[in-house]
Amino acid sequence: MKRGLLIILVLGFCMFSSGVSYGAEPIKIGAIFSLTGPGAHIGVAQRNSVLIAIDEFNKKGGVGGRPVEMVVGDDESDPTKAVMALRKMVETQPIVALIGPTRTDTGMAMIPTLEKEGIPTFMHAGGDVIITPVRKWIFKSPYRAADAMERIALYLKKHNLTKVGFLHASDGFGKDGAAIVDRLAAKHGFEVVAKETFDMKDVDMTAQLTRINARGPRAIIIWTIGPPMGITTKNARALGITVPLFQCHGGAEPIFFRLAGDAAEGVMMPSTKIVVADKLPDTDVQKKKLVDYIKEYETRFKDVPGTMVAYGADAAYLLLEAIKQAGPDRAKIRDALEGMKGYVGLSGIYNLSPEDHTGTTAKDIALVKAEKGRFILVE
Amino acid sequence: MGISEVILKVDHVRKFFGGVAALNDVSFEVNRNEITAIIGPNGAGKTTLINLITGIYPPTSGKIVFERKTISRLKPFHIAYQGITRTFQNIQVFHNMTVLENVMVGLHTQTESEFLNCLLHLPKVKREERQVAEEGASLLRFFHLESKSDWLSSSLPYGEQKRLEIARALAGKPKLLLLDEPVAGLNIRETEEMAELILKIKKMGITIILVEHDMNLVMGISDKITVLNYGQKISGGTPEEVQKDPKVIQAYLGEE
């Protein structure tokens, strides 16, 4: 709460000094992230990303002079705590919408309350279960895992790589991917020759990779987020595996190079364009927005934004845009979100609809490759 | 006293701990309503013998018969139900419970409420509780502990803890009571009180086995004595016989 209070004070001071909308009552939106616990490495970056979007929005005048204020909660990466944090927010703050949470399980735990209370929510969680089936009040900003993997499948098809090994974490995200890869294999005509799993806390996946490698795959897809990305990459290289290696759409983060070290070289992954913004052609409609955002993020947080930041920021941008259009009314905000078409975000062009609460498609996704400590666009 | 009846028979009992014999071929009998003392120098195997009788561990060979029933393979709690209870060399009163509760635990074999009944506190349990509390209180009166029945037993002075432990053992209405060094650590006055107490218990018709180092006490109150040394029985008989037995004198005082 102290931090929340601090933000209010700072924001209040900014408004006062700039003379904009003095005395106007702020519109509150809730934001729940995994600031501690196993999801914290993503949650903290996401909070930062949202902060930038909101400040930018308020600087432009907010909603008819009323600033937007973010009320932050921590779910400690725990479903029970997530519901408690939400319940607390709903009871104590007049929030009109919610951003977050970070994880799929915390998100799922919050859904019953959110649906009952009728709070338009933009989640950051990766799992597609959140929007399948489409729920009235729930949206999610990261790419659908299926779309991201489809991006990989297109590459496989183009280069005629028909035998694929699949290694995934045993968490929700990893298992989700394991189901998707089977569907896509049928659709795009490749064969999953081996499928192995590991625990997020494991420190060595050599055994699994050895097993996969023994089946002679032409490419290996690894579906996980966080530290195991580095370990699997290193293990694969240590085993002398030379076939193309793919990580998931959560991997294009600066930390990937630190985790995987030299082994990172050549690993491909679907990503938002934020990691390759400077290499985009000037004709790209997203380029200016990306470059500006990166600059702001780097000066403010002394850190290079990765793909997770883009998802986080987009959730905020879309929500703020909807609030601007609809005013501080939950139902109207929801309707505005659902009607959002062609919105240029950091992750792609969003076309939300009653049938689609994510709004991006495989076309928005870039395929990037790690090369000499940076990401480059593959094609 | 008439013809004495054998209540406990220890029959060629051996106990080995990892190859070392703690008891080697020990046999003796205990008569009903007598005080039988087991004495012997340190490490003679006295406490081992008590532990065997109360089932703490089984004998390596041989058997122990109590009232015509072989008890040498029974677990301690079974043996308690047969009517044998005991005290311990280093007091084992339940420090986490009150004085009264300690005695009430002693009444365990006299009652039968089990988990489900107790959880629901059925009328039967209520009745049993009242009865147990009354019996406990009367036992405490007998041992002059009634004024401290609500005390945590750990707060009692040492001598009273010793008494409490005997009270607890008596609560199980034993036919045979084993006392392991009941006066160790007591002063002379307390020792005399304890001697009276033990004789009083005997008067209640309870057979007693007494392991004790205080020879004044042993010689004073026992009817029979069994002497152990190096895990073997070296002598046995009345106090007068034992006191005169050169083998006993040698075991205690060393060789001439």
Binding site: - | A195, L199, D214, N216, V218, G220, Y252, L253, G254
Partner: protein, 246 residues
């Protein structure tokens, strides 16, 4: 050399030593006899600092030692050979002996320690044969010898021997008592706690009889040997009188 003055020691809630006083002169063997549970071992542990007295004083060569830690007392050269041997059974005989000299390694030359090692091996030749064996594999008598040998390695001025004859065959008891006498000749002062009263009184200069934490008799060992009271301390008085009253 050692002066114990009116000490009271509690063992948990047991008042184990009651206003106990005794003294030991240089190079004598003093025997402390009494039945089990009389407080003999407690007294040794009180001197060694393991169960410090609640009141009273213990002075060693004029220095108060009743409030200092066991290891400091060992460094004063008071070494106890505990009852039941208390060897480090998974360690070898040699290691056990070395540890007996634990505190001396920091202050003395290795040569001195080596010399004492030879001395112990001479006293107990069997230990030399078994030097690399684990202490736990020795026979009872050998273990007792090792325990005493370990004590000697501390180069004590005062050695506290707790029941060295316990559980040993008569022949070995004789051997051990011979060694004790030899130690005295080599200028070690000895406080000997024994249940085997006769053997103890035979080699002691003076003796104390302890009963329920109090000294009940003291005097020249030879005198005490003849005293009937000693016998009673072990085998008890006749209690029958009392019993009839009840």
């Amino acid at each position: 050399m050692l002066n114990i003055d009116l000490i009271n020691t509690y063992y948990g809630q047991i008042h184990a030593l009651k206003d106990l006083s005794l003294h030991i002169e240089k190079e004598e063997i003093v025997a402390l006899i009494g039945s089990n549970g009389a407080g003999k071992s407690t007294l040794l542990n009180t001197i060694s600092g393991i169960t410090p007295p609640r009141t009273g004083s213990i002075r060693f060569n004029g220095v108060e030692i009743s409030r200092i830690s066991p290891e400091k007392i060992v460094s004063q050269r008071i070494v106890q050979v505990p009852e039941g041997r208390q060897l480090f059974s998974p360690l070898t005989v040699l290691e056990n002996l070395e540890l007996g000299a634990f505190l001396r390694f920091s202050g003395e030359s290795r040569k001195n320690i080596e010399k004492d090692l030879h001395y112990v091996m001479e006293l107990f030749p069997i230990l030399k044969e078994r030097r690399e064996q684990k202490a736990g594999t020795l026979s009872g008598g050998e273990q007792q010898m090792l325990s005493i040998g370990r004590g000697i390695m501390g180069r004590p001025m005062l050695m506290l021997l707790d029941e060295p004859s316990l559980g040993l065959a008569p022949l070995i008891v004789t051997e051990i008592f011979n060694v004790i006498r030899k130690l005295q000749e080599d200028k070690t002062t000895i406080l000997l706690v024994e249940q085997n009263a006769k053997a103890a009184l035979r080699i002691a200069d003076r003796a104390y009889v302890i009963e329920t934490g109090r000294i009940t008799l003291k005097g020249e060992a030879k005198v005490l040997m003849e005293n009937e009271e000693v016998k009673k301390a072990y085998l008890g008085k006749d209690y029958r009188e009392k019993r009839r009253q009840i």
